[in-house]
Amino acid sequence: MLKFIFNRILIIVPMALLVVTVTWVLIRVAPGNFYSTERNLPPAIEENIKKKYGLDQPWYVQYGTMMGNILRLDFGDSLKYQGQSVNEIIARHFPYSATLGLLAYLLALAIGLFAGIVAALKQNSAFDYGTMAAAMLGLSVPNFVLGPILVLFFSLYLYWLPPARWGGPLYLIMPVVTLAAIYAAYIARLTRAGMLEVMRSDYIRTARAKGLNEKTVLLKHGLRGGIVPVVSFTGPALASLLAGTVVVEKVFAIPGLGNIFIQSVLNRDEPLILGIVAFLSILIMIANLAVDISYGFLDPRIRYE
């Protein structure tokens, strides 16, 4: 088990470097530069800029320098936000995204599991149909449509909630709900399908034959097998939660990392782009590892070599 974890951690480093390399290549092979988007510069100034950022060096020297810096976890300074290191920027803006993402995932888990289990137990009931229709709706309404509609209703019509920005808990409600909707929908569908599958299995029949009541059958015997698909969804969910936060942060004007990332991409702020890509890749891979480990606790049949 420890060896498995250790091996997986070892893989994370080259993988993150690979992602960074791909990103770097994409930025470099594309025509244009971060400074050329501004205005036409006199050649002398352009030379100076190139020299300052090492852009006059051959590409492999530039690549080597970048990789060396990254391995030392030094992503350099942002090109756009003068005088601020990439690490500072990430440290400042990530907490917003993390809060948002974590709360949204917990909310989605709570709603999704509850709705999915109840829907499975009351299969073909009105609750079941209602839940599944709502889940399908959750999968079909883009979050950048859901967010503004919530704002329209709760802020501009009812005046209950602040429409945007970061403040107390009230400010969090709509962004978190907007972000959670699609995951709650997914988890509800996965849970329902998983529970239905398990509740028809032989070992549930055995549990019933023992004389256990339905509650024990469900919670003690059914639940673990039923939520395995939900756990395996957690990995991909975290990756796509990222895309979700980009949208939600934009809709609600929250200064999170997603917003900063989009800005950095539009500005061609190479150090910042690479820094954020590396940071988020590592984060997702660690989360995936955590999911795989939790599998082992959930299902005794899984053994790590």
Binding site: D202, Y203, T206, A209, K210, G211, H221, P300, R301
Partner: protein, 335 residues
């Protein structure tokens, strides 16, 4: 005991139907049988004959929907199980009547330790403390001859072989010393050598605990040495019921005769092909008006495809569902 004519279980005109895409399937359609204390009953039939559904009905384990026990009495030690509230059924299940299933690979919960699965039965029904239940679990594993039970009890099902898992299932079923044990094809999924061991085990434990047993199988060879009487089921109906010895010696139903002929006989000379009943079991959703076996029967007459056969009494304990039951009985007596 005598207040129910010595019967531990008596089933009368049981009908269990299923709602399917193809219409209503009459999986069990009016069967009756009785079982005395300490007696062993064999129920024989091909897959789809309704033998499992009949016994799941006795345990009230039919999933509703799509299934439903539409009529009949299931009287267990004077209690009408069919009319009992489900909470009271649960007090009997696992305690006074227990069941072993066909596939030991899927019948144990893969996520829980063997100890947990064994302990919960006695904790629930016998009020055992954790400690008592644990010791009892080890004791039961020893009874079903699992080597090193103190160690194995903390294992997970996937660490056990098929035969060992079936032993665990038996241990679980017998934990509360039930009065009735229903074994639904307990050996079908196992290797031949293991099959004999498991049957011996059931036999031994049955004698030890004085349990009544219903042994469900599609293999007449399995029931031959173990049962006091046999019911042969086909298409949801009882085709023949008789004491074991008489059924083997003088069957009164062409279907039973076909089954008997298809049992491999080691004394039989080599080279002769094994007999097989021609055709396939009927589609229970679309049964013909006449005898459901008529199409496959070698002595079927006109009447067989037109009229449903009567349940003929051959003697006190021997019945057969056939237009020509008496003729078949007489004929097989002379063989």
């Amino acid at each position: 005991m005598s207040e129910h004519n010595g019967n531990l279980l008596s089933v009368n005109d049981l009908r269990t139907y299923f709602q399917t895409e193809d219409g209503i399937v009459k999986a069990v359609d009016g069967i009756s049988f009785e079982l005395k204390r300490g007696e062993t009953l064999g129920i024989v039939g091909e897959s789809g004959s309704g033998k499992s559904v009949a016994n799941l009905s006795v345990m009230r384990l039919i999933q509703e929907p799509p299934g439903k026990i539409v009529s009949g009495d299931i009287v267990f030690d004077g209690i009408d199980v069919r009319k009992l509230p489900i909470d009271d059924v649960r007090k009997i299940r696992g305690k006074r009547m227990a069941m072993i299933f066909q596939d030991p690979m899927t019948s144990l919960n893969p996520f829980l330790k063997i100890s947990t699965q064994l302990m919960e039965v006695t904790q629930l029904h016998l009020g055992h403390t954790k400690q008592q239940a644990y010791e009892h679990a080890v004791e039961m594993l020893r009874k079903v001859e699992i080597p090193a039970p103190e160690k194995r009890v903390d294992g997970y099902p996937h660490e056990f072989s098929g035969g060992m898992r079936q032993r665990v299932m038996i241990a679980m079923a017998l934990s509360c010393e039930p009065e009735l044990l229903i074994a639904d094809e307990p050996t079908t999924a196992l290797d031949v050598t293991i099959q004999a061991q498991i049957l011996e085990l059931i036999k031994g434990l049955k004698d030890e605990f004085g349990t009544s047993v219903i042994l469900i199988t599609h293999d007449l060879g399995v029931v031959a040495g173990m049962t006091d009487k046999i019911i042969v089921m086909y298409a949801g109906k009882i085709f023949e019921s008789a004491p074991t010895r008489e059924l083997f010696a003088q069957p009164a139903n062409p279907y039973t005769k076909g089954l008997l002929k298809s049992v491999p006989d080691p004394a039989h000379e080599h080279g002769a092909p094994l007999y097989q009943i021609p055709g396939l079991p009927p589609d229970v959703a679309h049964l013909p008006p006449g005898c459901p076996f008529a199409e496959r029967c070698d002595r079927a007459k006109d009447i067989c495809t037109k009229e449903f056969p009567p349940f003929v009494q051959i003697n006190e304990k021997h019945h057969s569902l056939c237009h020509f039951a008496k003729e078949v009985y007489a004929a097989s007596g002379g063989e």
